[in-house]
Each structure stands twice: as C-alpha cells, then as structure tokens.
C-alpha cells in the first residue's frame, strides 16, 4: 500500500537528504559559521545567511511537538490510510519536521511522546523518513 503513496521529489536543495534517506540516514543542514541547524534544506543559512553549510546526521530521535489524526485525506492516495497521524516532530537536535507516526500504537499518540525515525518504502528504493513511538 505504501508504494502507492507519493515518492519523494528531490531538487538541488534536497537531493543529499533523499540520497541519505535511501541509506536509512536522516540528515539535516548545519551552518559552519553560526552553528545553527535547520530542517527544510536551503542554499543559505536562515539564521546568518552564510553559504558555508554542511550536512550532519541526526540521531533520529525526538518528541511529538503536536499531531493530528487525519480522517479526511487531502489526496486520493492517502484515502486508504485513514485514520492516520500527521505530526510535528521536534528532533533532539532542535529543528522540527513533519512526518507520520507509524506502528500499531500510532493512534494512541500524545504530545511529548518520544519517537525515533524509521524509513518507509515508497517504491523503487525511495525511502521516506517516518517516526515510531518508543515510550519514555
């Protein structure tokens, strides 16, 4: 079923992110000048406008900052998956990202739950970072 869901689309800003995901690694951008970390990869540091950015590996752990259980899918591909959880994950490194909470206990999710990254197959070797609850 998951292979009918959208595949990630890489562009010049994000290709290394999706390449890393194929190797089961979650990477984020770090500024060599000010040290700020950011999600949603950019060409420039959104804190200090430095162009000296590098990719660093996230430990893939964090907590649920907020979430919603979706009952009405926005796109037909997701209709088979309802109800499903979309969540805003705060990585232990700081940046926040959106993902689904997967797993049998996903619908019991609560704010503050500890989660760790897992990778969902979206077909043709494309993997997309997702999260599972890990308890306290």
């Amino acid at each position: 079923m998951s292979q009918t869901l959208p595949k990630p689309i890489a562009n010049a800003d994000s290709a290394p992110y999706w390449d890393a995901a194929r190797e089961h690694r979650l990477v984020i951008r770090r500024c060599r000048d000010c040290g700020a970390l950011h999600f949603m990869p950019r060409y420039i540091c959104p804190e200090c406008w430095s162009e000296a950015l590098e990719w660093v590996e996230s430990a893939g752990k964090g907590q649920v900052h907020s979430f919603s259980i979706i009952h009405r899918a926005p796109l037909a591909e997701f209709a088979l998956r309802v109800p499903y959880v979309t969540a805003l994950i705060e990585l232990d490194e700081g940046p926040r990202m959106v993902a689904n909470i997967l797993g049998d206990d996903a619908l019991s999710v609560a704010i503050g739950d500890r989660v760790s990254v897992t990778f969902e197959d979206r077909g043709d070797g494309a993997l997309i970072p997702q999260f599972k609850r890990t308890g306290v």
Binding site: M40, L88, I128
Partner: protein
Amino acid sequence: MTAEFSLRNKVAIVGVGESDIGRVPHMTGLGLNAQAARRALDDAGLKVSDIDGVLTAYSFTEPYFMLGSVLCEYLGIKPRLNASMIVGGASPAVMLRHAAHAIALGQAEAVLICAGENRATGQSRDQAVAALAAVGHPYFEQPYGTSIPGFYAMIAQRHMHEYGTTREQLAHVAVNTRKHALLHPNAHMKKPSTLQDVLSAKPIADPLGMLDCCLISDAGGAFIVTSAQRAADLKARPVYLQGIGEFHTHEHLMCAPSLTAFGATHSGHAAYGMAGLGPQDIDVAQLYDCFTIVPIIELEELGFCKPGEGGAFFEAGHASLGGTLPVNTHGGMLSHAHAGAAGGLFGIVEAVRQLRGGLGERQVEGAEVALVHNEGGILSSHCTLILANEKG
C-alpha cells in the same frame, strides 16, 4: 526601526459590496468579483471612470496568470495602479495597506479592492480539497498526507496541551458565528447549529470536525478606498482607516517559530500604535476564522484576553452580539462565506457596515471603532487594521 509613515485619518472606505453567496453555479469567479465590484461602486455613488487603481488577490478555480490585469480587462478598467497580491487570507488587509499608501502618495485616487472565486461550484469537492493540500510544502509536508485542517488541528492540539483549551470551547466559536450568520441576509448558512451538532459532526482532523472548518462557497467581495478628503463628499458615511500593520513569520508549519505565538501580536501592536488606540477601545472585531482555533488565538494575540483565555472568552459569550466584544457579526468564514481571499475581505465589509450603523438585530449598539484581522497560510502572514466612523 524608523517610525512608520502614519496612515491614520488619511483614507476612508467609501463603498462595500458582496456578490450573491453560496452555490451560484450560473456565475464565474470573475463574474462574482464583477458583481461585488458593481455593488461597491453603487454603494459609494462613484462611476467606473472614477476608479484609477485595482488590486486583487488570487483564484484557485480560475488561476489566471496576472489575475490583476485579467480582472481589469474583464471589468473594462484601465487603471494607473494594479497588482495581484498573494499573501493567502491576509491579502485583503494587505491590499488595503498598499492602497492606502498609494492614495496618500498620490499614485491613485480611488482604489477598488476585489477578491473571490467560485469554490463551491467551479470545482468538485475533491478538487477543492486537493488544491488546498498544495498549501503544504510540496516536498516535506505533502508526501505525509498533510491537509490544511490537519495543520490547524496541530495548532489546536498544542493550544489545548499548553493552556487547557477544551474541545467544547472550540465548538463554541462555531456556534457563536452561526448565530450571527442567521441575522445576515446574504450568509451562506441559514440553519442554526448547536454545540452538540458541532461536537458530533464528521471528524476531519482531530480535534477539528466538519463544523470547525470554514465553508467552501461561491462568493466575491469588494470595497473602495479613497482619500479622507474625497470621502467627505460621497454618498455613504466614510469609515476612516486609523491604523494598520502586518507581520510575517513563516509559510509552512514545520518552519513556524512557535505553535502558540504568531505574528498577530506584532501586526496588532503596529495597528494599535498607528491608531493611538488599544484593545479596550474596540467595539467590534472581525477576526479571521478559517478554523475555530484561529479566532481564539487572535483574541489572545490582539490583547483582548490573556494567552490561553481565548477559548473561555467564547464560552462565556463575550464574543456574541450583546457581549463585551462581538466577534464576526456577519458569521465569519465558518458561516457567512469562504471563497479564497474573499473570506477575510468580508470581515472588512462587515466592519464598515457596523460602523455605518442601521443593521437591525445584527447591529452592535454604538459601534464607533472596529478591528479586523486577516491571516494567511498556517497563521503565517498577518495584517490587522482599525477602522472608525469619525476621524481619530
């Protein structure tokens, strides 16, 4: 920062118009804009040839490139000021700010501000939902099946977590605006709804159900802005701009600095500062209400209550007609109409009508000063404005 050029008492809204609202299958989006514009022009007692500036926003159902030019062409207007401005739901208030600056600088004398689309009948419901899904980030949000209600639901969930806001308090917002809509002759929704109706409505994205979400309407709205000097000679009682400010913090929820503190605090501060007024001076407020959590947050950020008390404000009836601060007296986007940028524009139309007076049962007694807040994206872009029926 240098002090902002003050727009206080410089311009007035002199005409307002709403198209037919609801399901209007015999009209296009541009036609709805034209009908609203025609009604605003008649309301102002102006001629088409008096309009020398036109601003509009965007359309999902008729996504023309250069929509501003397309609208002028459709209306047969050759203006010296024209643009389409896209800051989501904040667009109408932001357009007013640009129009006011242009008028104050002599770049235009009478600016028509127009928005709306045929969202109810110009596309299928699935198309409407899919088009709105595109507001999520194409590479880092959409692949997770995110939806606009889902983003706002996450904001609601966090508000409930931090402040103890309840599901019932969210529902009170919907019930309150529906009561007001029943007093508006042109509102999309014509039937009352109870707290139980809202709580038991089809779930969309927890904690939000169908009746916590704005409508999908066919609707166009328009208003006309001119100099305060010129306004004095026109047909309708002028409503003067006292203060206006905007603030922008992000577009996508994953990049929002906070899920409980947004840019309305800053846009409100700027508007109050320009007007020389504060929350205690406001008689009626038209707050953006795409989802029930939003006016709760706006009440808090705009200083009408403390952080975390917005839900209780609605629950206590303070935001109802007859309460301390009637909110969304036309029924808001939850019950009056929502069609793209027209949603927030109707808040401006209603504020003008309240300040002119004579609305019967819907009238806020003695209303002299009104506040309108528009927001766009996922509480991303904010614009607050303050209007008064006398120069301040």
